[in-house]
Every structure is written in structure tokens, then in C-alpha cells.
């Protein structure tokens, strides 16, 4: 059994509109999966539903994490078990610095794993880990004392998402359009950061519109996602075929357009 398993997952908006229409997916550590789809295919809905966004209802099917049914769990419980989402649009929290935010998040996860007892990370250990992760991702150190995502450029936000991933050390990271809004140099840095984390401790699910991030993170599996369904699956060569032929070739009638 894989670490993260989606079993015939259906997701609807609060008004009942079904967006994700039956997805099966299995992601393990040491693996990179790419979910590729056009705008409006429901990619972000899938990402939000995986993380437990209250605005998206799982109407059918289930999500298993390490064999445990997490379908009904809130986002914090999923995060505490080792699921992570790098947001396409990270939220600003004015007044809360990147450093204090990260330390609180790490301590919240440590506390949950210690059965509800406080088990704070020693400050020197935290500081050292943060500085080294920032250097790896070429995030300027002064960013640690700025308010998280408040006035950050698009590229800074995306890098800080990956910085959070590196610090929180999840077991499965879902990256929602992490490549969008990044120039090529930033893309390389971010992709390298993800690639470094993938291994025996972590697997990744890369959700993207374009193939270009996959030039730097080689996927083991590619899933073509159109109209709320996976319509084709294959190895890395599938991404190149997509790049050449476009999504049209895979689109069911009447879906897959811009929205």
C-alpha cells in the first residue's frame, strides 16, 4: 500500500458542483508524480481537497494516508501526519514573521506527534536549520524577519513555500502550480529544492499546467488530468508528448477550455 492513496475521489464545491469526478492515485516516498492538466480542469480543487480545505466537499471516495482514512480530517491533522501543500497563492499573515511562523508550525507538529505534550524545537537547532535551508534555496536571510508573504514578490512566495516544505519535512508534498510566476533561474532553484527532499522520507505530487518544471524534477509517473478525471497515465515521456500535442488530444468533449 502506498503512503498516500486516493480512492475514487469525488470533490464538489459548496454549491454542489462536482469538480473532481473520480480520481485514483497512489503516491509513495521516493516517488515524484506529476498531475498535468489545463486551466479549469480541477487541479487546484484536487490539491485543496487533499489538504482538507473546508470549502471543498469530498462527496465520494476516500483519502488514505499511511493506511489511515484522513478523508474527514481537518487540514491541521493531515499536516501533523506529514501531508504538505505548497500553495499556488500563499496567504499573507501581517505581523507574523517567517521565522516565528515556521517555529510555531514545527512546534505544533512536534506537539501533535508527542501526543499533545509541548515538545518545542530548541531555538539554536531551529535557527541553524532555517539558515541552512534558506541558503540552499537562495532565500535572502533578511526574509526570515519579514512578515510572511506580506508584500513578497511572486518568486519570493514560491521559494518560501518550498522553504516551509524543507523545514516541516513532510512525507508527501503536494505542489500546486509552484512553477507559475517563476523565472527560469528561480524555477531551477525551487525544483532543485524539491528534488533534494524527495527520497526515502518524502514523495511529491507536482501539479502543473506546463511541462517546464518537469525538466528539473523528473517525474516517475505522469497523470494527465482533464475535466476532473485522470485521462491518461504514463512515464516521463508522456509529459513531452503533452508539450508537443497539447491537451486537446486528451480533452473529452466540452471540457478542458479556459475558465
Amino acid at each position: 500500500m502506498a503512503l498516500l492513496e486516493l480512492d475514487d475521489l469525488h470533490v464538489a464545491l459548496e454549491d454542489g458542483t462536482e469538480i473532481v469526478k473520480g480520481v485514483d492515485l497512489a503516491v509513495d516516498t521516493n516517488e515524484v508524480h506529476a498531475v498535468m492538466g489545463p486551466n479549469g480542469s480541477g487541479k487546484s480543487t484536487l490539491a485543496y481537497a487533499l489538504m482538507g480545505h473546508p470549502g471543498y466537499k469530498i462527496t465520494h471516495g476516500q483519502i488514505l494516508f499511511d493506511g489511515e482514512d484522513v478523508t474527514e480530517m481537518q487540514a491541521d491533522e493531515r499536516a501533523q501526519r506529514g501531508l504538505f501543500l505548497a500553495f499556488q497563492y500563499p496567504q499573507a499573515i501581517p505581523g507574523v514573521t517567517v521565522a516565528s511562523f515556521l517555529r510555531s508550525a514545527i512546534n505544533a507538529i512536534r506537539k501533535a506527534r508527542a501526543g499533545g505534550e509541548d515538545d518545542p524545537i530548541p531555538v539554536p537547532e531551529f535557527r541553524k536549520g532555517l539558515m541552512s535551508a534558506m541558503d540552499d534555496l537562495k532565500v535572502p536571510r533578511e526574509l526570515a524577519q519579514r512578515y510572511i508573504n506580506d508584500g513578497f514578490s511572486g518568486g519570493e512566495k514560491k521559494r518560501v513555500e518550498i522553504l516551509q516544505m524543507a523545514m516541516l519535512q513532510p512525507r508527501v508534498a503536494v505542489l500546486d502550480e509552484t512553477d507559475s510566476g517563476l523565472d527560469i533561474d528561480a524555477l531551477k532553484i525551487v525544483a532543485r529544492g524539491v528534488q533534494r527532499s524527495v527520497g526515502p522520507e518524502m514523495g511529491a505530487l507536482v501539479i502543473t499546467h506546463y511541462q517546464r518544471i518537469l525538466n528539473y524534477i523528473t517525474p516517475d509517473h505522469v497523470h494527465v488530468f482533464v475535466g476532473g478525471r485522470i485521462v491518461e497515465e504514463g512515464g516521463p515521456e508522456l509529459a513531452h508528448r503533452l508539450e508537443a500535442e497539447g491537451y486537446e488530444a486528451f480533452a473529452p468533449v466540452g471540457v478542458g477550455g479556459e475558465s
Binding site: 489538504m51 482538507g52 480545505h53 473546508p54 470549502g55 481537518q74 487540514a75 491541521d76 493531515r78 499536516a79 501533523q80 504538505f84 501543500l85 500553495f87 500563499p90 496567504q91 499573515i93 501581517p94 505581523g95 507574523v96 516565528s100 511562523f101 510555531s104 508550525a105 514545527i106 512546534n107 505544533a108 507538529i109 501533535a112 509541548d118 518545542p120 512578515y147 516551509q164 516541516l168
Partner: protein
């Protein structure tokens, strides 16, 4: 930050009950009967062996109090049963300058509140008021040697009558408002501070006000005089046991900041939610002087308090930083006032209010620029954060400008904690309560960062207490 999950009792974290909400047996030197009268005023004045002018001042103030109607704006004060309040309790016969000399129950109270510990670590002086009297008082010797006076108000009157007579009731006249009149008639305790010219008191002086008895009325009176070029930071904290019936706290604070001097006055108000907190605070700032009010209101049933600064001298500067947090059953009517009467004066009022669980928090402010105060600058920013649909925020910004050569700015925002913000934080492993507390801490950060570290930590902890168990 360490966060814990606890239940909420009547809008206060249950931690409040353990940490602050306890009460101890009453074994008092003197306790008045309930209610207010000229006989009571005589009894208080006699206990304190006051000079005749003060006794007269008290009687006249009582007349003013009785004659004035209750205010019909702000919060609901009509429910206060003035006849049910104890106006004067003298817990001990003598003031101590060693914690060991206090009765065991009272010493134990201060220990629980962490005051002796704080004194050792980061305070230059401490006054500890229990019911109506300051039972413990101490100032560091080196400051005494420099001529700094830090006494309770009663000792101040006894030992420095001329100075007190010169300033007492001058910044806030006894008939300024109904509650200032009440305080002027039955005042007891509070602080008297004089900082000589050029002396800078580097560490804060702190006063702590504790109510223990049920239906207590506490009426401390504070007078601070910062002489030319001097500096002092005064911090006050307050707590009370949780009772089902009401208590009343009505203080008057008068501050004189002379030429080129600076005074900062920080309040962390954490009364239990059965206390009416009706306080008048006003400072005058002379030429090139700076006055700063940092006003944190977390507790009480109803607070009506608008720290004021009169900018009397050319180039004087005033700041009010106000945080108000209203939970279930609480109404915080807070704010600030800046009155510019001299040229090139400047003021900044920053107000942050948070309401949750049906609580009501508001900003009520006055900005006034008199004719002739040319070149005056002022900026007022009030931000409100609503944590749920049942809560309420009000903004009453009164502005009166009689001078054309001025630079005035006013901004107000109301926001809610967004679902997307919460989801973002929760996706990192924070519980919903922790996530909300983090958004709130961030919201008030512009003010907490102005506090000395120990108080910033305390403020954040209190905010987390307020947040616990309240969301979802």
C-alpha cells in the same frame, strides 16, 4: 509560542481562574460598609490623616458626582449599583517594603501573580496595591539617591504636600466627568512619581492593582511629574477574582511632561469580566516633550477609557497605542485623544481592536487642533478585526480642526479572519485555535513590538488565553 487548549468559562480562558481569578480570605484592618456618603468620605480622609484641603476637595467632588447624570454614551453604566459597592478597604495597617512583611495570604497573591520575581529581574521599582491601599512599595536605591520619587499617592501627599497640591486635580479637574468626580471623592492608593530634571529611569517602574473582595470599588489616583529632559516608563497591570456580581474600578491618572522630557505609560488591563473599568487618563506635554500611552485592554466587563494628551508646548509629540480585545459579554470602549494647542505639535493614534464571541470593541477618539497650532501633524489609524459574525466593532472618530495649516490623516479598516488565512496556517499543522491566535498576534504586533520583551510575551500569552476554545 506555546499554546494550550483549554475550556473557556464565561469568556475568559479557564487559566484565568487559576492564574488570576482566585481569591483569598478577608482579614482586613478596616473595611467600610457598602455605599457612598459624606460620612464615608470623612472616614477615608481620617484614616489617611489628610490635610483639610484634601478633605474639602473630596467632599466637593462627591457633590459633583451626585449631581452629574450618568453618561448615556459609551457603554451601559446604568446597571452599576453604586450602593452595593465597598468604597474603601484598608487591608493592612502599615505598608511594607519587604514582601516578607506582608500577611501570608497577600504575599501569596503577589507570588502567584509573579510580581516579586519581575521586580528582581527587570523593574526599577514596584508598587503593589491590594484593595484600596498600596501594601508594598519599593524603589531602587540609586534612583532614590538621584532624587526620583516613587511613592503611593497617600505617602506622596503626606511627604510632598506642596508638590501634590500644585498639580493634583489640575490636569483632570474634579468635575471633569462623573467618574473622575467619583475618584476625586474616594480616591485611595495609586502612584506618585517625580523624576528630577535630566534623570532617565532606564528600567520601568511598575504598579500592580489587585482587587480581592467581592463588590469592591478601587479608586487609585496617580500623578506623574517628569521634569525637564527626564524620562520614565511606568507600567501598570491589574487583575481580580471572578465573581458573579459586579466590581468597580475607577482611576484617575494625571501626567505632566515638562520641556524636552519623555514619559511612557503602559497598561495591561486584565480585570475579570465582572469589573466595570471606567478610567480617566490625561497627560500634558510641554515644549518638545513626548508622551506615549500604550494601552492594552483585555479584561473587564465594560471599559471606558480614552487616554488623552494635551500638546501644550511647541514641538510636543504624543502617541497613543491602543489594543482592545472584547470576548463574550465584554464591551471595550477604548481609544485616545490628542489636543493640539501649540504650533508644530504632532500626534499618532494607533488603535487595534479585536472582537469575538459576541464581544464589542470600539475606537472612540478625539483629535482637536486649536487655532494657532499651525504646522500641527496628526495621524489616526484604527483597525478592527472581527472573529465571528456575532461580534461588533464601532468607530467614533471625532475631529475638530480650527487651524488651516495642518497635516491630518485618518484611516480606518475593519477586517475578518479569512477562511483562506486559517486554512493556510492549519495546512502547516496549527490547530484552528492556534491559527486564529497567530492571526490576532500578528494584527496587534505593531503595538506589542513597542512593549518591553517581558510585557510583549505577557500580552501575547493573554491574547492566546482569550482565543482558546473560542473558535469553531
Amino acid at each position: 509560542m506555546a499554546l494550550t487548549e483549554t475550556e473557556v468559562v464565561q469568556g475568559i480562558g479557564s487559566d484565568y481562574a487559576i492564574k488570576y481569578g482566585f481569591h483569598v480570605a478577608e482579614d482586613y484592618f478596616f473595611k467600610s460598609g457598602r455605599g457612598l456618603s459624606h460620612e464615608l468620605v470623612d472616614a477615608i480622609s481620617s484614616h489617611k490623616s489628610e490635610p483639610g484641603w484634601m478633605r474639602k476637595f473630596r467632599h466637593k467632588s462627591l457633590d459633583y458626582f451626585l449631581a452629574r447624570p450618568l453618561p448615556t454614551w459609551g457603554g451601559n453604566v446604568a446597571e452599576i449599583d453604586f450602593e452595593n459597592i465597598y468604597y474603601y478597604i484598608r487591608p493592612t495597617e502599615k505598608q511594607a517594603n519587604s514582601w516578607e512583611d506582608l500577611p501570608a495570604d497577600i504575599k501569596d497573591t503577589w507570588d502567584k501573580l509573579g510580581i516579586p520575581e519581575a521586580e528582581k529581574k527587570y523593574l526599577a521599582g514596584v508598587g503593589a496595591q491590594y484593595e484600596s491601599e498600596v501594601v508594598y512599595h519599593k524603589l531602587q536605591e540609586n534612583l532614590e539617591k538621584q532624587g526620583v520619587l516613587f511613592l503611593d499617592m497617600d505617602s506622596g501627599l503626606r511627604e510632598h504636600e506642596d508638590l501634590v497640591k500644585q498639580y493634583f486635580g489640575k490636569v483632570i479637574p474634579q468635575n471633569d466627568n462623573k467618574f473622575a468626580a467619583l475618584n476625586s471623592s474616594v480616591w485611595s492608593g495609586g502612584s506618585f512619581i517625580y523624576v528630577p530634571p535630566g534623570v532617565k529611569v532606564e528600567m520601568p517602574l511598575q504598579a500592580y492593582f489587585r482587587i480581592n473582595a467581592e463588590n469592591m470599588g478601587q479608586f487609585e489616583r496617580t500623578l506623574i511629574i517628569v521634569d525637564e529632559g527626564a524620562y520614565v516608563h511606568y507600567v501598570e497591570g491589574c487583575t481580580a477574582p471572578i465573581y458573579t456580581t459586579d466590581s468597580l474600578h475607577s482611576a484617575v491618572v494625571e501626567i505632566i511632561v515638562k520641556k524636552g522630557a519623555r514619559c511612557r505609560y503602559t497598561t495591561i488591563q486584565n480585570w475579570s469580566t465582572n469589573v466595570y473599568n471606567l478610567v480617566t487618563k490625561r497627560a500634558v506635554a510641554h515644549e518638545e516633550a513626548t508622551m506615549e500611552w500604550v494601552d492594552g485592554n483585555l479584561g473587564s466587563k465594560l471599559t471606558m477609557k480614552y487616554p488623552a494628551i494635551w500638546l501644550l508646548g511647541k514641538g510636543a509629540h504624543g502617541e497613543v497605542l491602543s489594543i482592545a480585545f472584547a470576548g463574550k459579554g465584554q464591551h471595550q470602549d477604548a481609544g485616545g485623544k490628542a489636543v493640539h494647542v501649540a504650533p508644530y505639535t504632532s500626534s499618532v493614534i494607533t488603535s487595534k481592536s479585536i472582537s469575538k464571541d459576541g464581544g464589542r470593541a470600539g475606537y472612540r477618539g478625539l483629535l482637536e487642533v486649536a487655532k494657532g497650532a499651525h504646522g500641527a501633524r496628526s495621524k489616526v489609524v484604527c483597525d478592527a478585526l472581527l472573529l465571528d459574525e456575532d461580534s461588533r466593532s464601532d468607530t467614533y472618530p471625532y475631529i475638530r480642526i480650527d487651524e488651516s495649516d495642518v497635516d491630518i490623516g485618518h484611516e480606518a479598516t475593519v477586517s475578518k479572519i479569512g477562511e483562506e488565512q486559517l486554512f493556510y496556517l492549519m495546512s502547516r499543522g496549527l490547530t484552528e485555535t492556534e491559527a486564529s491566535a497567530m492571526v490576532v498576534s500578528g494584527f496587534v504586533e505593531p503595538i506589542t513590538k513597542e512593549l518591553p520583551l517581558e510585557y510583549a510575551v505577557e500580552m501575547n500569552r493573554l491574547i492566546q488565553l482569550q482565543m482558546e476554545g473560542s473558535v469553531g
